[in-house]
Structures are given as C-alpha cells and as structure tokens.
Amino acid sequence: MITILKNRMLKGVLTKKIAWAEPRVYETAGAELKALIAKKFGRSLNIREVDAGSCAACESEIIACSNPVYDIQRFGINFVASPRHADCLLVTGPVSKNMVLALKSTYDAMPGPKFVITLGDCAFDGGPFKGSYYIEHGAGSIVPVSLHIPGCPPDPETIINSLLNFMKI
C-alpha cells in the first residue's frame, strides 16, 4: 500500500496536453448526420470497438488512448462493453470473411442514432492484405462508414484528435 501511495505522489500527473492538429482523415458524414451528432450526443461519445481481422496493433493503440498519458475519457469518450450501450462502432481490420456476420450483427444490435468509424489502413480498403481471397474490401462494403482514421496504426494522439475534430467537442 505504501508503495502505491508513494508512487502515486512521485509520478504526479503524466497526462499529456493533446496538441491540436488538423488530422488527415476521410470524412463522408453528411451535414445531417453531423447536426444530429451535435444535437443528440452532446459532449459524450460511447464507442464499441470491433476487430474485424486486424493485426492487433490498432487495438493496442486504441487501448493506449485510455492510458494515464492520453486519458481519452477526460474528453467524454468511453469504450463500452456492449453494442447496446454504444453510439459509435469503431472498426479495425480488413474484415475477414469470418467476421462479416459478427460485424453486421454488432451494428444491428446498436440503438440509433448511430454511426461507424474505421481505423487503420486495412479497414479502409484491405491495406497490406488487399487482393486476398479471404477479405472483403474494407468495412465500407459491410456497414455505412462516416469517418476513416488512416495510419498503420494511427498513434493515440491522431486518434484522439480525429475523434474530437469529428465531434467538435
């Protein structure tokens, strides 16, 4: 217990100030959806993440967003355990054939209004796995995508910047 208290004091606050940068993203959300997001979601966003065949590097960076250094929760963004609690579906990976059904079901299980964000180069068009016999051509062919965050993988700062910019929180 003493060690924990001591380290709590010694480490202090490590959380980084996120430097504002205009992120390089591909946005396909219409003005209507943007208005809806601003109206309905206010300053919070609950995200359900689905790995549709990624190499786990994107997952690692998404988890890093919640670590003490980046602490994405201070901006009102949460990662939730069930699609029923989610406003937004975050998809990584090129969508392997085996994950098509699971991805669709997860999307269907979410209550509206809802939207989809893809993260990482694979989720856009297959990335390095383009041309394989066992993948779909990115998540866009399965669910409607409103925002894409590029990178292999995008680092936590880019992820946070892109989300905040999209939400205009």
């Binding site: 480490k11 490590l14 065949g53 590097a57 990662f79 355990a81 054939k97 085996n98 066992y134 993988p153």
Partner: protein, 525 residues
C-alpha cells in the same frame, strides 16, 4: 550426437529407407522418406530428440509436375540443427498416415494441411477446419493449391462445425465471442461447466484469417512490410524471421552492426509487450494501480521506439540485408537514460505486486499447465519456460546473445505466477541485454548492399517475445516466393490455454488468458 547417427539408427533399427539426406544450410538437414514411412520416422524423431513437431506443412509442386510434399520439422537444440522430414505425396491421391495419433503436437497442423491443400491425413481424430469456417467457405476449395482460383457465388459448406459436447446433469455451456467485451481480437470460447469449475474449454479461432501465406506468393524481399503486419505486436519478430529466411536463400551477409540493431529491436519489442502483460495480469484480478503503472512503462518504451526508429511498433525497421535505420550517439544516450528510468519503475512495480497478499493469492496455483502436457502439446515460448521446459532459440542459435551471456528465464510450477515471474525476469534480462548490445556493438554499415535473388529454400527463425517465430520460404529462380509457411507461437500455445483452465472457475479465465497473452492474428494468419 550427429544427425548421421540418427539416420543410421532410423534405417537399421526401424527399417525405414532414406531416399536422400542433404544439409541445405549449416543448420538445416532435409531427410527424404517415403510417405508411408513418414509417421514412423516422425515418431522416432519425437522420441529420440525429445522435441515436439515445430512445423508440419505441405507444399504444392504441381507446376513442376511433382505433386505435393509434406515437411515435418523438428528442432534438435543439442545438435543445433533443424531436421526436416520430407515426404512426396502423389497429386492424384493426396493422403498420408496421420501423425497425430503418435505425435500429438502434429494434430493442429494436420487440420491446417487438410483445409488448405485437401491432403487427407488418414485416421486423424479431428478433421474440422480451423480457419476456413464452414459457414462462409464452400467444401472442396483449397486456397493454397497452385490451381486455386477465386470464384464468386459459391455456396458455403453445409457441414456443421461440431463443438465437443459435455453431457450430464447440471452441465451448461457458456459461449463467448467472437466479439468480446474488451478491445481485443476475435475468437470464440465455449466453456462447459457444472457449478463453478470448467470441465471443458473449446477455443474456435480463425476469425482474423486473412490468407497471409497466399499473399506472400509471388512477392520479393519487399514483402518484409507484409511480414510486419502478420501480428502487429510481434512486428519485429515476424520481420526478422522473414528476412532471415530470405537472407539464407539469397546468401546475403548481414553486417554485424545490423544484427545488433535487430537484436535491440527484438528486445525493445519484448519490453513493451511484457510490460503490457504484467499490467494485464494485475488488472484481470482487479488490481488497477500496477496496471496503470505498466501502461506508463509501455508508453515510455513505445515513445522511445518512435524516437529511435520512427514507429511505435517498429514496423518498417527491418529490411532484407539488415535494418533501414542506424542508432546514432545521441539516440543511444536517449536509449540509455530511458532504460534507466524504466529499470527504476520495474523495481517499484515488483514491490507493489509481490507485497500484495491478495494478488499473490489469486495468481499462485491458478491455471497450472503441467510440464508433460506442455511437452505433448508442443507449447513453446514463455508458457513452456514457465512449465519447466528450457526452450529458447536465443540460447541455441545466436552468437550475439552468447557474447552477451544470455541467461534463460525459467520456472517450474506452470501457473499464472510462474508465467508472471518468467515475464518479469525476461524484462530484466532484456534491459541488461540492450545495455550489453549497446556496449558490444561495433561501428560500420547496418545494411548489406546489393544481393542477387535466386532459387532455394530456407527456414528463418527468431525467438520473439511470445516464443519462436518460424518462416519457411522457397523461392523460384527469379527469387520470387513460391511458398511461405509461417508458424507463430500462438498457434500451438492456444491449446495450452485450453488445458490450463480445466478445473478453474470461469472468472479466472481472463487472468489465465492474459498470462499466455496469445495473438489471434498470428495464429489465424
């Protein structure tokens, strides 16, 4: 012991005729036998070398009018050699006697060969597909055959994937996945349970199958980038193994400094992943402070990775012939000072974990994987070392590690605590090794310039942070890849997880899972 003695024994005592035995590389011996003798030969090797099947894979040589070849690979750490048993299989009637009834570690590989090539392993107990799920993939289409063509509109196979059913009064099933509650890869776990303890756990994987092995075909050395994307958290280990195989085929001498920088990258990868796992074990029993502490350590190492090599996962550092980026003096100082801070943090972390009685109570004697089970299943890497098996490729093959006086981390109890201890001692050892490497590293080029692509085959291997990562590659005369077989340690270790949770309660599954920390994408390819 010499491999020729083994061959004599095989011929004289077991009556197996050896068609040809050749030493393709100083550390690889190819022994050609008839396909009817493959099973007996494999059983002999397994007993005599006391080694599980490291790899078992097929190759389609139809374009050369030869049919198929099945390779069964064993590692002899005593001889410091990889022994390949090779058996030609006729294309008209592709089958061989199942090895798994005498050498169990071959079981998963046989299922893989059956689904990918349509080569039948006669009398094997399990013929279900692993990756090409019955729900989406038709029967009779074998993607790794050379004459495979992608066609749309095929009807999925009507065969149902049969889970093992446990029956009896009060037995119930808990299906979990493929989409889990956390931010994690997809896999399906089916627990059969009566009351609290788990009676059976069946793990169905393959959800992240992307057809990586096929994608390598026809590619050249530029595919190192693809190797880095097979398993994102093992980007360096996969790329090193890939490059190692091609360098053996193309006969490229990697400069000494390049090899040192590769070793530093491997150890940096081990550091951030082990930090992540130690934190994961803590949080899975509800001990959150050390977990946040580990997240900070991981972040520190990953930021260091970016400073040194411009990528947090070290993707793109490896290339055929060496590495793309040198570490200059200024960065070397940064490396040293960062590691000093990390070392101090690790000391605090250990004190936090081991002074907490309730934490130790949760991990001690939880999820025991016995040595014998680990041996039979062919479990490798961290999990094997925690169960008392002294296996580590770093001690067997690598002179850089020998100069740095590498010490293997080992425990014997095989529980979560043992795996945690192995990770912590490997973490400490990795920091010491990086210091040694930085000290021993000579100056000079980091990359061999110019090489001539040529035909050949070779095994590339390295001890990644999970365990050995193996790449077997054969190239055609233009130097393009004809067949690339990848084995990630996760592939065999998943079975170890399924065994170690038996008798435990379902709430302890996450901590057992995290103590193995296996890759979905590496196993599914």
């Amino acid at each position: 012991m010499d491999y020729r003695d083994l061959l004599t024994e095989l011929t004289q005592q077991h009556g197996i005729s050896i068609c040809k035995a050749e030493e393709m590389h100083p550390d690889e011996v190819y022994i050609w036998v008839e396909s009817r003798d493959l099973r007996a030969a494999a059983a002999f090797m397994n007993k005599r070398l006391r080694a599980p099947v490291s790899m078992l894979f097929a190759q389609d040589r139809k374009l050369r009018n030869e049919g198929f070849v099945v390779y069964c690979v064993f590692l002899s750490s005593q001889m410091k050699k990889w022994l390949f048993l090779c058996a030609p299989i006729s294309a008209g009637d592709p089958r061989f006697d199942s090895l798994s009834c005498v050498v169990y570690s071959a079981a998963l590989f046989e299922r893989e060969i059956r689904e990918m090539f349509g080569i039948e392993s006669v009398n094997s107990t399990d013929i279900r597909r692993i990756r090409l799920h019955e729900e989406v993939w038709p029967q009779g289409r074998f993607p790794l055959r050379k004459d495979f063509k992608e066609e749309g509109g095929a009807v999925p196979s009507q065969v149902h994937y049969g889970f093992t059913r446990v029956e009896g009064e009060g037995v119930f099933e808990v299906p979990v996945g493929p989409v889990h509650a956390g931010v994690i890869g997809p896999g399906h776990f089916r627990f059969s349970s009566a009351g609290e303890p788990i009676i059976n756990l069946e793990i169905r994987l393959g959800f992240t199958h992307r057809g990586v092995e096929k994608l390598f075909e026809g590619r050249h050395h530029d595919a190192a980038a693809l190797a880095g994307c097979v398993a994102g958290d093992s980007a360096v280990s996969h790329a090193v193994s890939f490059c190692h195989a091609l360098e053996k085929i193309y006969k490229v001498p990697v400069p000494v400094r390049g090899r040192y920088i590769r070793a530093i990258c491997l150890e940096l990868e081990r550091l951030y992943n082990h930090a992540n796992d130690i934190g994961g074990i803590a949080v899975d029993v509800g001990f959150t402070f050390p977990s946040a502490f580990c997240a900070i350590i991981k972040e520190t190492v990953q930021s260091l990775n970016r400073e040194l090599f411009n990528h947090r996962f070290l993707k793109g550092v490896l290339c055929c012939g060496g590495v793309t980026r040198d570490i200059d003096d200024e960065r070397m100082r940064l490396l040293n000072s960062t590691l000093k801070a990390v070392r101090r943090d690790l000391g605090e972390l250990k004190e936090m974990l081991f002074s907490s009685v309730s934490f130790i109570d949760r991990v001690d004697t939880t999820g025991i994987l016995r040595r014998k089970t680990a041996e039979d299943l062919g479990v490798t890497g961290v999990a094997a070392r925690a169960s008392g098996l002294p296996v580590d490729l770093r001690k067997d093959f690598n002179d850089i590690y020998e100069i740095a006086r590498f010490r293997i981390a080992q425990e014997s109890s095989g529980d979560v605590l043992a795996r945690l201890r192995v990770r912590i001692s490997e973490f400490e050892e990795s920091m010491r090794l990086i210091d040694e490497f930085a000290h021993n590293m000579p100056s000079g080029p980091v990359r061999a310039e110019g090489f001539s692509p040529q035909a050949g085959c070779a095994l590339g291997y390295t001890e990644g942070w999970r365990g050995p990562v193996l790449y077997w590659i054969e190239t055609d005369p233009s130097g393009a890849i004809d067949r690339c077989k990848i084995v990630d340690p996760s592939f065999l270790n998943w079975q170890g997880l399924a065994y170690c949770v038996l008798g435990e309660i379902i709430p302890d599954f996450p901590v057992c899972n995290k103590s193995f920390d296996l890759s979905y994408s590496g196993s599914d390819l």
